[in-house]
Symmetry: C2
Subunit: 217 residues, 2 copies
């Protein structure tokens, strides 16, 4: 029975707040963490004491400023370690998540800043997700969904919104890689598929689901 720390909860709350709005429900948290609701209630009480979250019973939970800073720090760690794993150790982008999940909890401000410098202060991780800087500020990567493009539009593949291994594998197999220039050759209205021209050479046809998971700018 795998046990979670405050940091794990902070990160999960942070991610839920990003996608589902300011206030997070006990059940939502329980669901994403794979834990039962009473465990969450317990933990939230403890974290409330420590002023990491503001928690009022049966009213959901929000990160305090303090909690948010910790959460962003973990996201920063995670993404920098992912860059390290891919750039320096030669991992593929679909392999690094679990290892980074461990490395993100290594403590030490100086360490992560040195790592950041060593990696050349990257702005995005191998999936195109923005990396908060040492002050906790996220660079705004103004990207849009591939599905928002029109026929003839051209853009650079900058990130994914679906981080699942299966999707990453799919992209690899289709020969679509981060940094590629994608041109929308045609959009088939009836079955909502996109035919893309890659780097002026290859052509691939992808579903709307895929077009909705690819970020470009």
């Amino acid at each position: 029975m795998h046990s979670f720390t405050e940091e794990n909860y902070l990160k999960a709350i942070y991610k839920l707040q990003e996608t589902n709005g300011e206030v997070v429900a006990t059940s939502a948290l329980a669901q994403v963490m794979g834990v039962h609701a009473p465990s969450v209630t317990d933990m939230l009480k403890r974290m409330g004491q420590k002023k990491l979250v503001s928690y009022q019973k049966s009213k959901g939970v929000k990160l305090t400023e303090k909690g948010k800073q910790v959460a962003i720090g973990i996201v920063r760690n995670h993404r920098l370690w992912e860059v390290f794993l891919v750039e320096k150790l030669g991992y593929r982008w679909d392999e690094v998540h679990d290892i980074a999940e461990q490395l993100e909890h290594i403590q030490g401000e100086e360490l992560i800043n040195k790592l950041d410098a060593y990696l050349g202060f990257p702005e995005a991780d191998p999936h195109g997700d923005p990396i908060p800087n040492a002050k906790g500020v996220l660079p705004k990567l103004k990207s849009v969904l591939l599905s928002s493009l029109k026929e003839g539009d051209q853009a650079t593949f900058t990130g994914v919104s679906d981080h699942s291994t299966s999707f990453l594998h799919y992209l690899d197999k289709a020969g679509i890689a981060l940094g590629d220039t994608l041109k929308v050759k045609s959009i088939e209205q009836y079955d909502q598929t996109y035919t893309l021209t890659l780097k002026g050479k290859k052509e691939v046809t992808v579903s709307l689901k895929v077009a909705n998971s690819i970020l470009v700018s």
Copy 2:
């Protein structure tokens, strides 16, 4: 109240076995870990169940083969991460211990082997301690204490037997660094001090205590 895992105990037992012989006493373990004896008894029982140690009450404890392999793995991780911190991130040798103490518990065979390759399969960490290879074999660095040299002898500084920050600082301040060629210019019998010539230039006088903490070959 800082809490330890099985891995922490395994490493501590391993180190005690190396220096104090095969069988380790409850109290010795309690002492080095900074924990009270009953906590150790408890933990040893649990670890005995899992066949990580062979434990018979009031008779001390020994690592099993399984436990030894895990312990060596941790030592390998620790020393490789130390090399990383010094070689890649630019830390000094006296700063890396605590961070490596965290990093040594990151799980994943593949990760550590990739790191090993990335670092060029080093044989020793920044303090001159041998790094076990992927099979758990320690390279034998046949080094001796500086204090075993005679007047006129010359050797290379390959490691330290005292890893304390204060000693490492002392060496830095004295301008003695790993890899240096040391020549014993003279030994003062009465107060047991060694006057060393460094790289044919500088001269330093050190106490017997220091000469006993420096490894050369």
